[in-house]
Amino acid sequence: MTDKVLMKGNEALAEAAIMAGCRHYFGYPITPQTEVAAYMAKRMPKIGGTFLQAESEIAAINMVYGVASAGFRVMTSSSSPGIALKSEGLSYLAGADLPALVINVQRGGPGLGGIQPSQSDYFQATKAGGHGDFRMIVLAPASVQEMADLTVKGFDLADKYRMTSMILADGTMGQMMEPVSLNYGEPTKYDKSWAVTGTECARPHNIVNSLFLQPDELEKFNFIRYERYKQIEENETMYEEYMMEDAEICVVAFGISARVAKNAIVQARAEGIKVGMIRPITLWPFPKAPMLKASEKVHTFISVEMSMGQMIEDIELAIRCRRPVKLCNRVGGMIPSPDQVYASIVETAKEGGAQ
């Protein structure tokens, strides 16, 4: 028998956050991530932590900003329209170099959209989290186990690089149950001498701030931040390669789309089609290098995503448009079926890259 337990993705994520040392959670109700808040509401009071239902998404992210300023691990979770409201706070967190973890359990959009799973916040997460030049580390779990593991990883990366980590999940990842085992060591401690914990009149005051009225000074901070981003691109990119050794067709998919694509790839392989997959685990930094490398052997890429084609642009950039990239997608809360992905693979195999 196993030591694993069945947990919903949202709950595994919440428990993993607590195990990572997060004792402060602020949120606002929105489907389909409510389980995270409900879990925190139950657990936090019992372990001396804070759960607070904020008056708005905006207040929640600013409470996160406050706790992060004090140097504690802190998180908030929401779903697409709520993340849009938080974008002001995301920009300020970046401008003040504060670590935080933000969860987006995506739903269909734009506008109020729907409540079914979606991946259409890809641009928002990887390119336009808010105003100004900044990045967030974007982690895309494809299982309940990864919902938990990437949460712990997200806190570590946030602390290490003093920035926001975002878990970009979707309704299926949040709602599904799978076996998980939550075994993490003691949370790693990071230097937080910058935090505003009170000077005790023994050191110069710390200031957490994103305002720099002198343009040369502001430019300098942007340069420094982007140097850090460069290190992250070099050191923290994560992806999974699946059956890529001899692949002539490369599927690129993340999250639930990657799970669906795996079924289709198994089916196509049984028919003798040489197809594999690169699954980005970090969407920013995007795994450009393995894709560029794959483009030497692969004749066509297929981007399987639950958006109108957002990640496909990053694939084209990564492979410098050397190969055609096809889009296989569903949107609005619809999930591509293995059959749809299989059909796209078969069609691509027939074309053989002749376009």
């Binding site: 028998m1 196993t2 694993k4 337990v5 069945l6 489907t31 389909p32 409540i115 079914q116 309704g171 299926t172 709602q175 599904m176 149950m177 799978e178 076996p179 639930i256 799970r259 669906v260 795996k262 079924n263 198994v266 999930i335 079926s337 293995p338 059959d339």
Partner: protein, 177 residues
């Protein structure tokens, strides 16, 4: 068995999700790979509810069951909606207390069981779901008590331990029906 794809569907409140959770946990206790995925949203509040359960020897790919090996239909809309999706040679279990019509397909195995009626007659009106679970275990010859007890221990919370016996009895009823 390599992979079993199960879709359980009915009204919210019939214990659809619970039945699925039990089956998934039983698979887990037997060292299988499992996934459980509910429909969510307004459907939770009295409309049609369904859940996908996959039990496999291999890592589970997509957790969404779109072509089930086994469909459990606990109301008519569910049978209407999913009948055609079952793989040829698959199985459909119909709660014949609530669904009057017969399954139209002839390329699938069909089991009619008056689960809701049986549940009321035996003083356990909320356990039609577990009567059907008993039937599933019987059909697939997977009624080993070790797995059943372990899974029940996981899905029934400590303060509802008194429900354990009722659940076991419901499963026995289903197995014999």
């Amino acid at each position: 068995m390599s992979t079993r794809q199960i879709l359980i569907a009915g009204f919210g409140g019939q214990g659809i999700l619970f039945a699925g959770k039990f089956l998934a946990y039983k698979g887990l206790m037997e060292d299988k790979q499992v996934s459980w995925l509910p429909s969510y949203g307004p459907e939770m509040r009295g409309g049609t509810a369904s859940c996908s359960v996959i039990i496999s020897d291999e890592p589970v790919g997509s957790p969404i069951v779109s072509t089930p090996d086994l469909l459990v239909a606990m109301n008519l809309p569910s049978l209407d909606k999913y009948e055609s999706s079952v793989v040829p040679g698959g199985t459909i279990i119909v709660d014949s207390t609530l669904i009057e019509r017969k399954v139209a397909r002839d390329d699938v195995n069909v089991v009619y069981i008056p689960a809701t009626g049986l549940a009321s007659e035996n003083g356990m009106p909320t356990l039609a779901n577990m009567i059907i679970v008993g039937k599933i275990l019987k059909l697939y010859d997977e009624f080993n008590m070790e797995g059943v007890n372990a899974a029940l221990g996981k899905v029934i919370s400590a303060r509802h331990q008194d429900m354990l016996q009722f659940n076991l009895k419901a499963m026995e009823l289903g197995a014999d029906a």
